[in-house]
């Protein structure tokens, strides 16, 4: 008799747990328009705002006078764990003194692991993270970026 009771309690208990599960999914089905969490990605580009700390790519902010803050000291290059930063410096003559300045600040996006060490260690806060994340490209050369804009110079307020 006990075995029969167990048989039926197994059966009905099992059915009950199945119905509880169906209740959960059924609830979502009925409330589906409200519960849908899918983001319509390419359509919501205009409204999609990334957080300001989001590590999309390394950029070098320039002000409106086309000036950046990079002195070309090479600390970012040294700190980068995988060699994604290359600095090519040149010597400029400013006020009749020879002065080191950057010629090209090359950033290899394809090698970057977004560890943030370059941005963190930069003594003059010349580097920052950009929020752009749409990097896909068919040309691998497009990942080698030159961060300083053509013709840009060092701002005056950065101490050497």
């Amino acid at each position: 008799m006990n075995a029969i009771a167990e048989y039926f309690s197994d059966l009905f208990g099992g059915i009950k747990t199945l119905l509880t599960g169906m209740k959960v999914t059924g609830k979502y089905f009925i409330r589906s328009p409200k519960e849908i969490v899918t983001q319509q990605y390419p359509d919501n580009r205009d409204t999609l705002v990334m957080f300001d700390r989001f590590k999309g790519e390394v950029i070098m902010p320039h002000n409106d006078k086309n000036e950046h803050r990079c002195t070309g000291c090479g600390i970012c290059e040294m700190n980068c764990p995988n060699g994604s930063i290359e600095i090519i410096s040149k010597f400029e003559i400013v006020d009749e003194k020879k002065k080191k300045a950057i010629d090209k600040h090359i950033y290899h996006l394809g090698m970057c692991t977004f560890c943030g060490l370059c941005v963190k260690t930069c003594p003059s806060k010349a580097l920052a993270f950009g929020q752009n994340f749409e990097h896909a490209s068919t040309d691998r050369n497009s990942f080698n970026k030159i961060l300083n804009k053509p013709g840009s110079v060092l701002t005056k307020d950065v101490k050497e």
Binding site: L18, G21, V24, T25, E35, V37, T38
Partner: protein, 361 residues
């Protein structure tokens, strides 16, 4: 009752053809060709729609949107997929048994199509109306397992073979339950002919007339038929997390599409049988004693009733699939032999008692 009888239309068509070609083999051939073309078209359209429905339903269960890019609300997505599958390369396996490998998907799809022939869509709208209709449907729908077994065997892939063997064990077992649960209603109806079964539900559907045993039979039929169509939670033959894709791992292109389509069409066949046998098929909802209500119900065309019921049951099966985890093979067999079959046998006995003592409505 003024439900339109489609046999008027079909007999007119028959008279027209016979008028031109005379009664005989030629007329029969032409008629069969027409029926065949109608069925294949219906098959394809319905298959595409069911795939779309499954995608949308499961998306809503899962807080997603589902296909929504191709066409309005993604309606053309399945058509695009179908075209893609048609254009894909048919991969041939070097060490596969070529003949069986190629013939397997057709066996599966033909079995499904044969079963479809007996389904009454509306009054007089069916290709075959055997007096052993239920037996015929059961016989043909279980032929599909042959195709699955052959597909698994001929692929020369161990995953496929495991899937096929699982499927074999599964369908052989669950065929019993499907049959017995339908027999329960046959006991009540006193006939195996679909048109007669539907006619018997004019006063009320069998699930109401047969009350408790009919309801139990319906539950068992739902479980067993879900298992027979190889759908989750009984999709052990595919079991994508264990066997990658089970018996159709090695298939690609249109041959894969046939397997895919047959799964959905099997689901439709099973659901339409359930709606015919338990919910009166195209018969509108009639409640004895409420003449006015019944009259209003009759205004809805029978074809709407049929598809409404069928798709409700299909929705239920999708609900199962997208809620439950998959069973293990031994649990699957335990469920059949320890639970479904004994309950079914007792149930058929109860139904017989009910019929003998007129304990039904």
């Amino acid at each position: 009752m003024f439900i339109y009888d489609f046999s008027e239309l079909t007999s007119k068509i028959h008279a027209g053809i016979a008028g031109s070609f005379g009664e005989g083999l030629l007329t029969t051939t032409i008629e069969m060709t027409i029926v065949g073309i109608v069925f294949i078209t219906f098959f394809a359209v319905l298959g595409l729609f069911l795939v779309y429905m499954e995608r949308k339903v499961c998306a809503f269960f899962q807080c997603r949107l589902g296909p929504n890019r191709v066409g309005p609300w993604g309606l053309l997505q399945t058509i695009a997929d179908f075209i893609k599958l048609l254009m894909k390369e048919l991969i041939t396996i070097k060490s596969a048994d070529q003949f069986l490998f190629n013939v397997a998907p057709f066996i599966v799809i033909i079995a499904t199509m044969l079963a479809m022939g007996a389904i009454p869509f509306a009054k007089g709208l069916h290709a075959l109306d055997f007096d052993i209709g239920i037996l015929y449907v059961m016989a043909t729908s279980s032929l599909g397992v042959l195709g699955i077994l052959l597909a698994g065997w001929s692929s020369n892939n161990k995953y496929s073979l495991i899937g096929a063997m699982r499927s074999g064990a599964q369908i052989v077992s669950y065929e019993l339950s499907v049959g017995l649960s339908l027999m329960t209603i046959v006991v009540l109806a006193g006939t195996m002919q679909f048109s007669q079964i539907i006619a018997g539900q004019e006063t009320a559907w069998f699930i109401f007339r047969g009350h408790i045993p009919a309801f139990i039979a319906f539950c068992i039929f739902m479980v067993a038929s879900t298992a027979e169509t190889n759908r989750g939670p009984f999709d052990l033959a595919e079991a994508e997390s264990e066997l990658t894709a089970g018996f159709h791992t090695e298939y690609s292109g249109i041959k894969f599409a046939l397997f895919f389509l047959s799964e959905f069409m099997n689901m439709f066949v099973v659901a339409s049988i359930a709606s015919t046998v338990f919910f009166g098929g195209w018969m509108p909802l009639h409640i004895p004693g409420l003449g006015g209500f019944n009259h209003v119900m009759d205004f809805f065309p029978p074809i709407v009733w049929f598809f409404g019921k069928t798709f409700t049951i299909i929705f239920l099966m999708m609900w199962f699939k997208w809620t439950f985890p998959r069973l293990r093979i031994d649990q699957l067999l335990t469920l059949e032999w320890k639970f479904l079959l004994p309950i079914n046998l007792v149930n058929i006995l109860i139904m017989a008692l009910c019929v003998l003592n007129h304990w039904y409505f």
